[in-house]
């Protein structure tokens, strides 16, 4: 799966979890929480949806790697390989 595909997977999940947000304006390098109205429970939802939809597991110690869209793609791409 390409990095672009992984990015879209994450964006699709964020769109469902934060449906009031415009995900088309996200800066990939900036913290998601700084750009969007997301709290810690929302990140748990992202982890949950990755597991439910794509059977991808994110252990608790790696949650910080989901801070930016860029870091999400780097971290998750090997798991989708």
């Amino acid at each position: 799966m390409t990095a672009s595909n992984v990015r879209q997977i994450v964006l699709d999940i964020i769109s469902d979890i934060a449906p009031d947000e415009d995900v088309t304006v996200i800066d990939d390098a900036k913290s998601l929480r700084e750009q969007l109205d997301l709290d810690s429970m929302d990140f748990l939802d992202i982890v949950m949806e990755l597991r439910k939809r794509h059977k991808v597991e994110v252990p608790q110690e790696d949650y910080s790697k989901l801070a930016t869209l860029e870091s999400c793609v780097s971290y998750l791409s090997p798991k989708f390989a």
């Binding site: 979890i17 934060a18 009031d20 947000e21 109205d37 949950m48 597991r51 439910k52």
Partner: protein, 412 residues
């Protein structure tokens, strides 16, 4: 009586299967327009049920709707509509002196059932159990969502009282105002019951689930051929205030609380006890300082079950044996059984009769059950009776909880 000891209703927010505000709801009650339809229920397929079609996002963001529950969504809609209707200046209200008291039949079944379903769809992967499950299912959740939405910092909780919930929520609000705990009470009842399959399956197992090829005829209380309850959702929340405060802001006043009572059958988990129901109605009438003949209108609980309707009919006949002028109606033929919302919603449907003098009928009585014959029963056609001053609203529930709430037309 001192105005600080008189409690009045100054705002109403509601959603019912046949209306999303009082005017629409009342008109559909007068026109005998049902809100019951066929819906697809998990595992069971097509069932008669009453669902509400209010705009969930009128007062709530999509994200918070997703975070919360259907029960919370109904509560938020009703609370906001009630506040708006009351004309109270919300920005200047002391939010620490506002209380939220919501009667519920049950809460958490919808969310729990959905989580278990999802887990079964995913090879019993328990790690998919939502982190939102606990805040969604704690029993104060619907009232708590209202406080989050309206920035209320006074007390909030729900009143678990089966299908007496609507009356019980209002009574709690009244009591807290009389105690001086709050200055404004948002009080009533809500239900999201048809969102779960379990309640349908359980009533089916009891042989008490309404069914008919025409869903609008499924709920037919007091009809000889009735076959059970049409499960519905809904909500109705009132703004309650002390009369002294309502007068200060020149508020519109729908009605004044005259009396109330709650008691218990102490006889059975499910089957009602008409003697205790009579005691409950009489206790409320006595507390209001009235005679039975002072009551102009009684809204029956009348769910459409065989035993329930016969027992309550007997109770109403006995309770009002000494009155020739008390009219009787019921509401669940129109909207099904809105469970925790039923008492509060059905009361609201009758409040406009203080103004127009018309009693809306109970609907769907093809052939009145001989065991449910009651003097002055209004069914199938509205009845203009003129002056209505007192309404008694019955709301009963499983485990033998009975409630009767009396309101009076407000006069200066």
């Amino acid at each position: 009586m001192d105005d600080t000891q008189r409690i009045v209703m100054t705002g109403i927010g509601l959603t019912a299967p046949n209306g999303n505000n009082l005017e629409q709801f009342r008109q559909n009650l007068l026109d005998c327009k049902s809100g019951v339809r066929h819906v697809d229920i998990r595992y069971m397929g097509k069932q008669a049920a009453g669902l509400c079609d209010f705009d969930e996002y009128k007062f709530q963001s999509k994200k918070l709707r997703r975070r919360g529950t259907r029960a919370g969504s109904i509560s938020i809609y009703c609370a906001n509509e009630a506040v708006k209707d009351s004309g109270i200046s919300w920005e200047t209200v002391d939010k620490s002196m506002v209380g939220v008291y919501i009667g519920i039949t049950e809460h958490g079944n919808v969310e729990t059932e959905n989580e278990i379903f999802e887990m079964h769809q995913n090879n019993l992967d328990w790690k998919l159990w939502s982190p939102h499950h606990n805040p969604r299912t704690v029993s104060n959740s619907p009232a708590g969502e209202v406080t989050l939405n309206l920035n209320i910092t006074g007390p909030h909780y729900t009143l678990g009282s089966a299908c007496a919930g609507g009356n019980v929520g209002i009574i709690q609000g009244v009591q807290q105002l009389l105690l001086g705990e709050v200055d404004v009470a948002l009080a009533g009842g809500i239900s999201e019951s048809p969102q779960t399959f379990g309640i349908f399956a359980a009533f089916a197992a009891q042989g008490a689930l309404a069914h008919h090829e025409d869903p609008t005829l499924a709920s037919r209380p007091l009809d000889k051929n009735r076959n059970g309850i049409a499960i519905s959702e809904g909500g109705c929340i009132y703004v309650l205030e002390r009369l002294s405060d309502a007068k200060k802001r020149n508020a519109k006043i729908y009605a004044e609380i005259a009396g109330y009572a709650i008691n218990s059958d102490a006889t059975d988990f499910v089957n009602p006890n008409s003697e205790r129901q009579v005691e409950c109605m009489h206790k409320a009438i006595k507390r209001a300082g009235l005679k039975v003949s002072d009551i102009d209108l009684v809204n029956m609980h009348a769910t459409g079950t065989g035993t329930g309707d016969i027992n309550e009919s007997k109770a109403v006949r006995d309770a009002f044996a000494d009155s020739d002028k008390t009219y009787i109606n019921f509401t669940k033929g129109h909207i099904g059984h809105c469970m925790g919302a039923a008492g509060a919603l059905e009361l609201a449907g009758n409040i406009p009769s203080f103004i127009d003098g018309v009693i809306h009928p109970g609907m769907n009585v093809g052939e009145l059950d001989p065991d449910c014959v009651i003097k002055n029963l209004v069914f199938n056609e509205p009845k203009l009776v003129g002056n209505i001053n007192y309404i008694l609203n019955n709301s009963f529930g499983m485990l033998g909880i009975n409630s009767a709430l009396i309101i009076k037309k407000y006069t200066v």
